[in-house]
Symmetry: C2
Subunit: 754 residues, 2 copies
């Protein structure tokens, strides 16, 4: 898809003086010249980049209004702004902590209720036969709970599906995912997670906390809710992408902290102190409330939703001989993780093609719920692994066919929330599990978890991954002791922990954050080094085969995600090849009709327009003067900020920054703004609204250079200029995200209107 390069300045610029006829011709020209711009019917595959995602703008539009406001604010007022920031972060932390408590307590009670009902039923039917009724009861219970959870997601807010981590990752990367930080999404997410976990799916409730924290942050920092139509008239200063992003990253941190008790889990861009503070408050709130709820009020020593229990390091150190074993476990985790991701990839492709109707999605979720229950039941039924009930800490011991005083050990793995199962695998004394039980459980749970991820329910993949890993890790530890005839004493709990780390690392491919999370959740730093080692190995091995689960899903959504650096071999490309051209420019004093026509022209994907010098008859070069955003133009048109052509000297109506902030972030579409024929002939002066100092690059700049500028500053539009400061093109996120490092070198994705 290389473009022929028009080299005369006139063809670079489309100075906005187009009549309707011109405009149509222009579209035509655009379509023939730039065929890759709007191919509508490309079958879905991962080598696409969707045009439907817009960018967030992390670069303040420093127009006159903005500068005037900033200059008016003195030192003391800035301190007030700073204090407001801290207050907002505290509120984010408190609310995130409370939401986490709510989820935890509701899940605990509902799941407890369910298990008691099913257990009583099984106990009843074990004696008199007819356990198929129990199975039916269990499967029906699960399926109906999951149905509700899936219904609300599929029909009310599809973006609440999954863990939300890929979405928040994209948001913080600068991609505007529609609805992702709305209040409605939060409500659906919270209810959805509760229902998925209670419905017995192979899911966790931790991942979604990150999304929840982010929504809370976005809501509070704006001081209003558009969904509820309430504007509290506070925090208006923060109504722009730049500020909102910082708070969202603090919210995400608070979410991680509430889920895992790990305050340094997310190191997203943005101010570290705020993230840190919000995390602190969030953990603290969660702990205080839960400690009161659990009766041992004010003992704050167990942070986080998930707590893997303490490994007593005095008893369980590790030696250098174990290092190669851990590395081997990392390799296994990497391979199993890659397998998980590959299976999930095919499944997701299948879902994108065939299960895109909401009804079907609900049916699939119910099916998975029923199958999960059935598999669990059959495995419990077939298992003959009985363990003495004495001294064990099983919550719902199921006797089934075991002798009195014993319980079915397979049941503890299935008949429990996954969180509890993980803790059991870590801490149950050696000998609690039969190797056969563990093997079967690993196998089954692996496929169930893989099938579950990507369903239209709110759910996380952290805990299932840990559970799979803990199961095979423990199995591995037992086998090791057995095979070496006890010469290596492998504590099963320790190996379960390493297995869990390896499996999770192999699936999500994080290293630093996961190390901290695992360290925090085990309340112990001794295992820091081996956990790191395992995670890095798993990542390296996994990356060799296939991408991480979150990145894979981001790619499957064709999101224009920008990594930290440009692909290494992209120095051969320059801004000239990468940019879109021609670019629609506006004149500094422009005819209203032209502005309306340009905004209505859907062929232009850009949401920002370079502003050039207004006088086109002089021979003077039409150098770049500024950049104005579509949203700003919309506000100008809405407030009719223009004067008649005859009275250009008359001062046009003044707008305040507040007018722009009130419209943020849901600017009305151009169709909703009525401009009369007379008004079309008026002129609009963009000088004080445009950003007079947009960042620019020369056409000779290499792609990595452009990329670095774009990414480091969080830009949305980057104007490409020639030696005389004339506009020759525009680089946006899609132009950069298109180039990716494939197996054979640099590859270029196609753009599509998916």
């Amino acid at each position: 898809g290389e473009l022929a390069l028009p080299l005369t300045p006139s063809s670079f610029l489309r100075i906005g003086q187009l009549s309707n006829v011109d405009l149509n011709e222009d579209i035509h020209e655009l379509e023939t010249e730039v065929p890759r711009q709007r191919p509508n019917e490309i079958p879905h595959n991962e080598k696409l980049l969707s045009l439907k995602y817009e960018s967030l703008d992390y670069d303040n539009s420093e127009n006159q209004l903005f500068l005037e406001e900033e200059r008016r604010i003195n030192h003391a007022a800035f301190r007030t702004v700073e204090i407001k920031r801290w207050v907002i972060c505290a509120m984010i932390g408190i609310l995130t902590g409370l939401v986490a408590c709510f989820i935890d307590i509701v899940v605990e009670n509902l799941a407890g209720l369910k298990y008691r009902v099913v257990k009583d039923n099984i106990d009843k039917f074990t004696a008199k036969g007819g356990l198929s009724f129990s199975l039916l009861l269990w499967a029906t219970l699960n399926a109906s709970v999951v149905m509700v959870g899936s219904l609300i997601v599929a029909f009310i807010e599809p973006v609440a599906a999954g863990s939300g981590i890929p979405q928040i990752k994209c948001y913080l990367n600068g991609v505007k995912i529609p609805h992702v930080v709305r209040l409605k999404t939060l409500v659906i997410k919270v209810c959805g997670v509760i229902l998925s976990v209670v419905g017995g799916l192979a899911v966790g409730k931790e991942g979604p906390m990150i999304h929840s924290g982010s929504v809370i942050a976005a809501g509070i920092s704006q001081g209003r809710s558009t969904s509820l139509k309430r504007d509290f008239k506070i925090f208006e200063y923060f109504r722009r992408d730049t500020e909102k992003r910082d708070f969202v990253s603090a919210g995400a941190a608070a979410g991680v902290s509430a889920a895992f008790g790990a305050p340094v889990g997310v190191l997203t861009p943005g101010c570290i102190s705020f993230q840190f503070f919000a995390s602190m408050i969030s953990t603290f709130t969660l702990n205080s409330v839960l400690s009161v709820y659990h009766g041992n009020a004010w003992d704050l020593s167990s942070p986080g939703l998930i707590n893997f229990g303490r490994f007593d390091s005095e008893k369980m150190g590790y030696t250098i001989q174990e290092i190669p074993i851990f590395i081997f476990m990392g390799v296994v985790g990497g391979i199993l993780g890659a397998l998980f991701n590959a299976l999930n990839y095919w499944l997701t492709m299948f879902r994108i093609r065939y299960i895109h109707r909401p009804c079907l999605q609900v049916v699939e979720a119910m099916l998975v719920a029923a199958v999960t229950a059935t598999v669990g039941f059959v495995m419990i039924y077939c298992s003959r692994d009985c363990q003495p009930i004495q001294g064990s800490s099983v919550a719902y011991p199921l006797q089934l066919f075991c002798a009195d005083g014993e319980y079915n050990s397979m049941a503890t793995a299935f008949f429990n929330t996954p969180e509890k199962s993980v803790v059991n695998l870590f801490h149950d004394p050696p000998g609690s599990y039969n190797p056969m039980t563990l093997g079967m459980f690993t196998l089954m749970y692996f496929f169930l978890a893989c099938w579950t991820y990507g369903l239209t329910v709110s759910a996380g993949v952290f805990i299932p991954s840990l559970l799979i890993g803990a199961a095979w890790g423990r199995l591995f530890g037992i086998s090791l002791s057995y095979l070496t005839k006890g010469s290596i004493w492998a504590d099963p709990g320790k190996y379960a922990l390493m297995g869990a780390a390896a499996q999770l690392g192999g699936i999500v491919r994080m290293t630093l954050s996961l190390t901290v999370i695992m360290m925090e959740a085990t309340g112990n730093v001794t295992y820091g080094f081996p956990i790191m080692l395992v995670l890095m190995t798993a990542k390296i091995v996994g990356d060799y085969f296939v991408e991480g689960l979150y990145d894979m899903h981001i790619q499957l959504q064709s999101v224009p995600f920008l990594h930290w650096e440009a692909p290494v071999t992209s120095h051969s490309l320059t801004a000239r090849e990468v940019m879109s051209t021609p670019v629609t420019c506006l004149r500094r004093i422009e005819r209203v009709g032209t502005v309306v026509d340009i905004l209505s022209d859907t062929s232009s994907n850009h949401n920002g327009f370079p502003v050039v010098e207004s006088n086109p008859d002089t021979t003077q070069v039409a150098g770049l003067r500024g950049l104005i955003l579509r949203s700003q133009l919309i506000v100008l048109l809405k407030h009719k900020v223009f004067v008649e052509r005859a009275n250009l000297s008359v001062v046009q109506r003044r707008l305040k920054l507040k007018d722009f902030r009130d419209a943020y972030p849901r600017f009305p579409p151009i169709q909703s703004i009525h401009v009369s024929q007379d008004e079309r002939e008026c002129m609009i002066d963009l000088s004080e609204f445009m950003n007079p100092s947009p960042y620019t690059v020369p056409q000779e700049a290499s792609l990595p250079r452009v990329f670095k500028l774009f990414r480091a500053l969080g830009l949305r539009h980057l104007v490409v200029v020639d030696n005389r400061n004339e506009v020759v093109g525009m680089v946006t996120r899609k132009d950069l995200a298109r180039y990716r490092l494939g197996k054979e070198g640099l590859e270029e994705l196609s753009l599509a209107q998916t």
Copy 2:
């Protein structure tokens, strides 16, 4: 110091065609017009910015040579480069770990020897009287050891003084501190630290590990040592500031890790994975070697040089009632920290004014060593705090005037390396210390540590700060129990930990890194939240009074340090006011004599020159075409890359990127390059050596905007252009660092040739 703004293009540009006479006139003009540029005799104060520091360039000069090389490298070759990076990081980790081991083992042995000698002496003289001989022995021993440590620092490598953390902070910020990453510095640093600690000063050996790790990283990544005149011809690809910085940050991380066993201690800019990996390897190396050395080979569960011992969290949780107490301790820590910093500030000012001769510095260091020994001795002598020797873990129990089977408890605090004293204060059972002892010790040690920091010896302030804090924390805990008549049971060890955190936080003002470091060093995450709380409180309270110790010293050195963001109230300034103007520009094809003259002209502080279109007679605007660095010009002149004016069509000698890399980073001065009178008349074509796409800003851009661009991309020179892309000025680090937020708002520092 506002400048009158010349507005005609001709006065903006100094197209480089100056004869010697012109040049002198120009200097004259410069001096009258821009009086703040070279004021030589301003008395030292903190409102100065030194002109002696140059910037590092984190922006690759993407000239033709560079791009050609990058384009030649294919995908597979990039993988080799990536593997080399990992190998280098592993080597950095291993060497840093080994250096840490070396320091640890040598200090342990030498200090042990010293304490045994003194103890035997005291034991001898206690019986027969004449303890003043013991005092004399102790003081002389200390003073002579410190003398050697101070001599090598003062006379061989003054930059090795102190902990090196401020220097590395500046380096990573982009300031070139002379000699900071040289091999000689490393050798002096390591020996200096050993001698300071053995000399009984109130110092730690942990801080300097960060500096050591950085030097190791800088050395290895360049594959050569200029000091040793050895070039291993490897890693030549990494011979530029950009790459070197990433490795130095990995080295700093490895240093932190070796010192504290905390792999996530430093979160400096640069690639996190490499930092993480180097840390991992470093901890691992240290542990392996130390575990073998200490006899319990292969037990790797105690990471880091300093290990505060494990707090058993089962026994020692914390409750919500303690939170306000912890916050109060944070306040105390903040105030004491601010006091420490203020005292140290006055002391440092005094030192800068009166103790700048190396001999005096050595004498001061010896004095401090002798005083430290004397104070210790007198306090031990006066103390009547005897404790039973049974069951205690004191290394060198000093009986002195205590009964048989008892030891002097004051002696344990002084008669020990500070690291061990900290651990004792954390873990000795309740009742081991008399409140009076603790109070006196805190008071004395506070002033000693304050006096010691800033001496011309290599030493860190971490451990002394922790020790002061641990002492008053323990005292606080004991008093609390006593005052509330036991209704609050304050475990002295826990309060010692919190006090240590508060004091350290109050002095250095870090939060995130310190929390992780303290958590790692105590092997426990339970106290994560309260430690964070204490650190944040201490930081907020401390910041109210005076800056953190490291920032203060950076400011006292007048280093042009750039913070993350521009001062909040700086929107009123634009690039036009901030930039230096006029700027010396070069033409694309320039006369050699002109280049030599410009480079020899010391009035220009810039090390980069905008390159403009070469033909000055046409009416065409002289738009910016590129940017060339002084160092690049030097290499061009050295290799005589020029052609006679008559034969402009002849291709000039080609240079390779290797020629530039070989000269990096110590480019010869212009005076060492001889250019004959004939050669002066030759022409030099800069096209392929200049960076053709330098970043630019328009003159209207606000200071925060310029700042953001400069800081985010790690620039050294930022060209300011007008609407026609003509050069109007240049912004460098000093122009931005000059503006600072003082107590009353924005203030401007003066520039001085200190």
